[in-house]
C-alpha cells in the first residue's frame, strides 16, 4: 500500500489532474468520449499516486507575477548568451571559472527552486549545490559572477513571493 508522508491537498490534486489531462488531449488529439473518459481516469490515477510530494499551490496573483517575470528572465538569458558566445569565440579564451557561495534571504521552498533555476538558466552561471537557502554557484568569469553577487535576480524573486507565508 502507498504510504504518504504528507496528507493529500485536494487543490494540488485537482491542478495536477488538469495538467496531465491537457497533455493527454494534446497527444491523443482525438475527441471521442471513450478516449476523453479514459484520459480523465488515468490522469486522476497518476495524480493521486503522486500527490504526496508538494503541498504548494500557487495562487492566481503569483501566477501573474511569475508570467511577468519570465520576459525579463528571457531578456537576461539572451544578453548573457551573447556575452558567453563572445567569450567562447574570443581567440584568447578569457575565462576565469570560480565557485561562489551565495546565501539567499528567501524563506520559501518554491522561491529557492525558482532562484536556482533562474541562475542555471542564465548562461555563464550554474547552480551546483542547494542546501536550504545556501547556494553554490559556478560562474565562468567575473562579469557573470557579478550578476549573482549583486543579487539582482534574488530581489526580483523576493518581490514575487512577498505576500506568501514563509515555510523554510
Amino acid at each position: 500500500m502507498v504510504t504518504r508522508s504528507r496528507p493529500i491537498s485536494s487543490e494540488f490534486l485537482f491542478l495536477k489532474t488538469i495538467t496531465l489531462f491537457v497533455f493527454w488531449v494534446l497527444f491523443s488529439a482525438s475527441f471521442e468520449w471513450v478516449h476523453l473518459g479514459l484520459g480523465l481516469i488515468f490522469s486522476f490515477a497518476v495524480a493521486w499516486l503522486n500527490s504526496g510530494h508538494s503541498p504548494f499551490v500557487p495562487r492566481f496573483r503569483l501566477w501573474l507575477r511569475i508570467f511577468l517575470y519570465i520576459p525579463w528572465l528571457f531578456y537576461e538569458i539572451i544578453r548573457s548568451s551573447l556575452h558567453l558566445s563572445k567569450l567562447i569565440l574570443h581567440p584568447a579564451l578569457p575565462i576565469d571559472p570560480h565557485l561562489i557561495s551565495v546565501e539567499s534571504k528567501l524563506h520559501h521552498h518554491a522561491a529557492v527552486v525558482l532562484l536556482g533555476n533562474s541562475i542555471t538558466l542564465t548562461p555563464g552561471t550554474i547552480t551546483a549545490e542547494v542546501d536550504r537557502n545556501n547556494l553554490i554557484v559556478h560562474a565562468i568569469d567575473k562579469v557573470s559572477g557579478a550578476d549573482i553577487v549583486s543579487k539582482q535576480i534574488e530581489l526580483k524573486i523576493a518581490d514575487i513571493f512577498k505576500d506568501e507565508k514563509p515555510d523554510l
Binding site: F23, L26, I77, S85, I88, H98, G116, N117, T120
Partner: protein, 99 residues
C-alpha cells in the same frame, strides 16, 4: 513567414555552432556544461521557434511549443544534476593559475 523562419533558424544554428565550439575549446566539465546546456538550449529554442513560424498556426505548432518548453525546463535540470554529481564526486574546477 518563410523569411522569419529562416532568420530564426539561422540565429539558432549560430548558437548551436557556438556551443559546439565551446564543447571542444573549454577546459573542464564545469565550464563545458555552460556551453552545452545553456547556449545549446537557447539555440534549440530559436530553431524550434523558426520551425513553428514555418508551420503556421495549428495543432502541430502547439506540440512544437510543448517540446520547446520541455527542453527549456529539462536542460537546466540535467545540467544541474550533472554538475552536482561532478562536484560531489570530488572533481575540482579548473583554475586559471593551473596553466
Amino acid at each position: 513567414m518563410n523569411i522569419l523562419a529562416i532568420i530564426f533558424m539561422s540565429a539558432g544554428l549560430f548558437f548551436l555552432v557556438v556551443a559546439a565550439i565551446g564543447v571542444v575549446r573549454l577546459p573542464d566539465v564545469f565550464s563545458r556544461s555552460h556551453a552545452v546546456s545553456l547556449t545549446d538550449s537557447l539555440g534549440a529554442f530559436l530553431m524550434l521557434i523558426g520551425v513553428a513560424f514555418h508551420e503556421g498556426l495549428d495543432t502541430n505548432t502547439l506540440k512544437i511549443l510543448v517540446v520547446l518548453v520541455l527542453l527549456y525546463i529539462l536542460n537546466p535540470v540535467i545540467a544541474h544534476a550533472t554538475i552536482r554529481a561532478a562536484l560531489r564526486s570530488g572533481l575540482k574546477p579548473w583554475k586559471k593559475e593551473n596553466l
